[in-house]
Symmetry: D2
Subunit: 435 residues, 4 copies
Amino acid sequence: MIPRYSRPEMVAIWSPETKFRIWYEIEAHACDAQADLGVIPRANADAVWKAKDVEFDVARIDEIEAVTKHDVIAFLTHLAEHVGSDDARFVHQGMTSSDVLDTCFNVQLVKATDILIEDMVKLLAALKRRAYEHKDTVRIGRSHGIHAEPTTMGLTFARFYAEMDRNLNRLKKARKEIATGAISGAVGTFANIDPAVEEHVCAKLGLEPEPISTQVIPRDRHAAFFAALGVVASSIENVSIEIRHMQRTEVLEAEEFFSKGQKGSSAMPHKRNPVLTENLTGLARLVRMAVVPAMENVALWHERDISHSSVERNIGPDTTITLDFALARLTMVIDKLVIYPDNMLANMNKFRGLVMSQRVLLALTQAGVSREDSYKLVQKNAMKVWEEGKDFKTELLGDADVLKALSAEEIEDKFDLGYHTKHVDTIFARVFGKD
Amino acid sequence: MIPRYSRPEMVAIWSPETKFRIWYEIEAHACDAQADLGVIPRANADAVWKAKDVEFDVARIDEIEAVTKHDVIAFLTHLAEHVGSDDARFVHQGMTSSDVLDTCFNVQLVKATDILIEDMVKLLAALKRRAYEHKDTVRIGRSHGIHAEPTTMGLTFARFYAEMDRNLNRLKKARKEIATGAISGAVGTFANIDPAVEEHVCAKLGLEPEPISTQVIPRDRHAAFFAALGVVASSIENVSIEIRHMQRTEVLEAEEFFSKGQKGSSAMPHKRNPVLTENLTGLARLVRMAVVPAMENVALWHERDISHSSVERNIGPDTTITLDFALARLTMVIDKLVIYPDNMLANMNKFRGLVMSQRVLLALTQAGVSREDSYKLVQKNAMKVWEEGKDFKTELLGDADVLKALSAEEIEDKFDLGYHTKHVDTIFARVFGKD
Amino acid sequence: MIPRYSRPEMVAIWSPETKFRIWYEIEAHACDAQADLGVIPRANADAVWKAKDVEFDVARIDEIEAVTKHDVIAFLTHLAEHVGSDDARFVHQGMTSSDVLDTCFNVQLVKATDILIEDMVKLLAALKRRAYEHKDTVRIGRSHGIHAEPTTMGLTFARFYAEMDRNLNRLKKARKEIATGAISGAVGTFANIDPAVEEHVCAKLGLEPEPISTQVIPRDRHAAFFAALGVVASSIENVSIEIRHMQRTEVLEAEEFFSKGQKGSSAMPHKRNPVLTENLTGLARLVRMAVVPAMENVALWHERDISHSSVERNIGPDTTITLDFALARLTMVIDKLVIYPDNMLANMNKFRGLVMSQRVLLALTQAGVSREDSYKLVQKNAMKVWEEGKDFKTELLGDADVLKALSAEEIEDKFDLGYHTKHVDTIFARVFGKD
Amino acid sequence: MIPRYSRPEMVAIWSPETKFRIWYEIEAHACDAQADLGVIPRANADAVWKAKDVEFDVARIDEIEAVTKHDVIAFLTHLAEHVGSDDARFVHQGMTSSDVLDTCFNVQLVKATDILIEDMVKLLAALKRRAYEHKDTVRIGRSHGIHAEPTTMGLTFARFYAEMDRNLNRLKKARKEIATGAISGAVGTFANIDPAVEEHVCAKLGLEPEPISTQVIPRDRHAAFFAALGVVASSIENVSIEIRHMQRTEVLEAEEFFSKGQKGSSAMPHKRNPVLTENLTGLARLVRMAVVPAMENVALWHERDISHSSVERNIGPDTTITLDFALARLTMVIDKLVIYPDNMLANMNKFRGLVMSQRVLLALTQAGVSREDSYKLVQKNAMKVWEEGKDFKTELLGDADVLKALSAEEIEDKFDLGYHTKHVDTIFARVFGKD
């Protein structure tokens, strides 16, 4: 985790305080279930809830762990200091450390995903707003970085909206993947604890009981989870690359918002760097790099080995914190993105109508001119534009051979931008639904 | 694609013949829709179906492409050779090559996924059968590669079943991700073709129309698709690693089936190598390696660049072919896996009852012995087992201090395997449903 | 391997014919060494060389393998068909299949690397030629995609030269990594064969004997090898991205060569797509994706497992074939790249001198104007350029406040491009050496 | 970075204090060079060295950065607070922030690599010591996890030594890759600063001047660097997997050292988990995951974009810190690894001599028995061992048909372990050199 690329709410999920709080809830709910089953006295279960409002003392727990060399035991010892060691003596009975650790990890991932889902909803709102704002702002569409046919800025935003909406669904599915808990003992047989305990604890924590676990929750779930984050990150890169292209000096169709106070802005007005989206491009790589190790974590030996643990200590916090930051940053970028419709038009006209050459070619053949002759006609005029800087429409209108096939009005018509935008509403309805 | 790791049905999906067949269907259905719209004459649309039963001549198309340098044009030229160039003159009207190429790629991925789903269903059947067969076959559960507590072989199979069942769902979702088509023109605006054509073609091909495309279908879909395959592959590795461990000489709890004729088997009966699951471990890496490039493919420039294309020419066929082969191979391995229950028992007893030491420890404390004293009692007897090769239960039964706290019957009880298997039916019901 | 992205010489290295040829050489040289040691009769060793000019019949070997289920045995059986089974009876004595397979794989990798090295030398020649050709062709340098300060096109080529020259060294080191052979038996102890055989065979094949092997050559070597190819591929992407940027419509400082005959070029002269460098961007991803599985291959179980084998059957040929193709394609692109110096100048002047604002700012402060005042002076004039389309130098020359600090001559001087190119020769000398 | 997997010396390299110290040195040395060139007054250059022993106040710099929004300016402002703003006014003249940042990053990587090299030297010492200690400790070699032929524990250590020795060389080469500095200005042209400054600063910092840079040092260097770390990590995984296998209950040929005080050890003496090597397996994945993003960082736009920066802020510290920790942990594991030679022998004899079956087979054929008959003879006796628990050698010695071909002495000889260890000294001499 890099502090400058993190936000407090997400960081808090991964704090020791939160972790111990979740451990506490798992243990307390488990005691309740054990009491219901008659395994432990009800009074002892009730007593554990005395610590309900306690903020656990991380330093103290660390101190105990330094002696016991075991994190869960250290926590339980500290808990007993609050509850009373006599009352606490049934806490954790029949359980295995992994029951607590794995269930807690999934609770943290669920909480993290809830934030990511909120982030995504905000990003969608920003994209939708900008899409409608620029629904009819014409710009040139490009394939291979080369001018192709006109499109609109609204379609660009709408396209990112649709992509991020798919990502919203992926996040929801990813949440489901890891919203399970397990309290099933050393090898998952429930030898020392009734499955009812698992069911109760999971219900209280908003998790599904893992249908079959070993000592651990199966890691294919986490692989699928981190893979989903990797896809989301790749989409962030996709949007970022578009903005970086739009901001480059020669294109200048948009700029990241630049606050008045930002140094150097007005003495070098051409030098406004798209540093936010460049940064997002890098952050996307960081989120994505967790995907392969998460997949390598799936193949644990027999009922578990602990090779996955160090990986998850890193990628659990790091990817969710980074992705949260990235989504929020991107939302801000989209929200404030400065759009230059005039430059869009100027770029489209950079080669004075040549982008319409294909439409003219088609019109000529449809008007009965042979394909070869149509091609030669277009070519002749296109080369004047390309090499001599003439205007394409003007040339066509002055070419007697062209006028034999197409009227001036028909030629004008081929340069009508409305031809290209006529289905924008249809597409918007597909993406955003009918309003 | 490596021939030895491929199966014909999946390979066929990626053949030029199949590709041209799909192109043909896209073009023919598009003509129908264009005729319905009145854009082209009905007779011409009908004429295209004359080629319905034609097997396109790949060599001939290649020959034409060598001249035209354009694959779609080469195909269309060849199609005209069958349909008649006059009748064929409206084929592809208003369309862009990518409309055909991208929609075809998704059709191929859908077909491939259908096979993968069938493969997975077969694997699930094999796992379920073996799970019930060995529901009560006791073996030692292991954490960290070290004996922990007893479990059953049936639980191991059930666990893999549950994991693969999740993978079945992931494959179904992955199929949905890429089951879209797009016929939307050079930059996705439908400038030259009505959205109704896309809708018609997609309906005929079993696809959803892509709500908003550019020149191409957005690649976040494919990233999610290949990520799902990567998770499936990781699960294959997981099962394979388990089998490789079970087959290693010192463990020998299972062996891959070894056909009688296989050379060397009986002169070196100890030397039966788990080569199939070792191979599957490697194949998993091959499938997984496609995940990152598929994610790198998401960020295309503007309305498209073609950097994704060479990647997909490789990973499209290679990952689906490899995964199909791997799933089928794993199914065969599971189906025929030779299980050695006697060796399982022998392994469990390798340290003459020591795996029960934790249960005895717990019983002593529950019988009122202090934790320190319980520990010392267990330790004393455990060390005799560990260092002198004694039997743990016998030692306990002969230890007067232990007998003060636990009766002989209670001690016997701690070594009862039924304690560990009592919830197997519950877990099976969770995994396989109530029968 | 995708045929369209492959070249015959590299493909040939990975053919069965080449493989069997190398196997033959290993076996024949091993026989010589065994005869020298007196382990087998000299006559038998000599007899093996009878097959020296034989082209092995792959179909026949496959036929035998279908029966024996063992590739090396099938080859040896076929070899005996040429040499005579009596003469051939000492072939392979004391050897293990892996001795042949692993040594052969490394021979193939060495041969492949020799081609890659040749490819790189050619690429370097092309880059050097273009660097000198455009040593003084001024273009704007860009950071963040935004105009910064002038540089030259020659420096761009020189920079790629320096990067590829490092890659040449990396390839040479990578070659060294895998230029080893091992003939050390089932677990690497030389129990059944004298180390002298390994030494002789390696010497003949141009390899170093692997100092210590198990059944296999250690795979950290191959991990390092494929990692080096991944770096080379990333540099190819780097050059390709530069060219794609230069060719985009709004920049148009260079174009991939477009043959006169290529369809559509002159009717749509603006629509020349950088498809070669886009393709190279994708190919780079394909080469890079082999790096992680090659690293996952390092941790084999004990003296070997065979999980690496399926991975290498794929990435051995695929990455070297793809990289060979990519290097050759890039060389061609560089060789024929069409450079537009006029457009470079036009781009640099897009904002009428604003790129010099920082230099003017510096000059003002050096002339004694306070930093705040200097900033205000530059800002005032810069905004006129940015917002009103004025020329920066003209504005400065007409600004009395500026003229108080700087003479007209000094102002002119700040716009002298020679200031930026004065060290080009120094840099060239660093990169290419003193001529 | 995860605190529990980090060591202070390496962490210190990545502290703000160290960073500012390096920045200071770069600036101060640059002033010296500028003074030598006559660009700035000597007195001012000298004055900068007044801050030589200052510990820069990170909080104060952060405070300034909060205002200036620029890290290098904040540092320079703080430096001026120490040096005096008048004396400091020529600091950084002609330089660009990246000159400082990139050169500093490489200094940090060099320092980090120096520690990694020291770590590796210690690991090599441990491996060498254990190799000689167990040079003749016989254990079974395994392919595919299945017993093959005898080898020695010393060879295992020697093999890891050789692998790590290659890694030492890779680290040294990796150090060279990134031991460069650049002070070349906004686009690398030295427009505002003489190349002599770069040369002087680099010489003082132990770096080579980057022959040609842009605004940044080319990132193929860093890609190669992190790839090398990925290879080292994979080797750590390799050694770790071996130890984890050796420690698994059924094998128990070695155990990670288990301190007397460690809880639970003696009450459950069978339950000593190889948690350190499991942890190392996970840490290897963490180091390896940096390789691909480092390669994705190579293709920066034009003279630089800043997408690499967030990636490097993470992987710079994280991979070096993790690898340092991992190397030290592995050294400790190797140093203290508890080896069980008796168990090695017991494992080898698990199938009562069957591992020698291949040698017997060979001996029979060499004694003139046909291959078919030899095979049947071995098979007959092998099956008695496999199925009836007999001893292989005993059976052979009692088989009249065998005795017709081989004398009792010859049979005995086939079971001589010396046959397998006769070349251990040769191999050791290859690995460690002649003593």
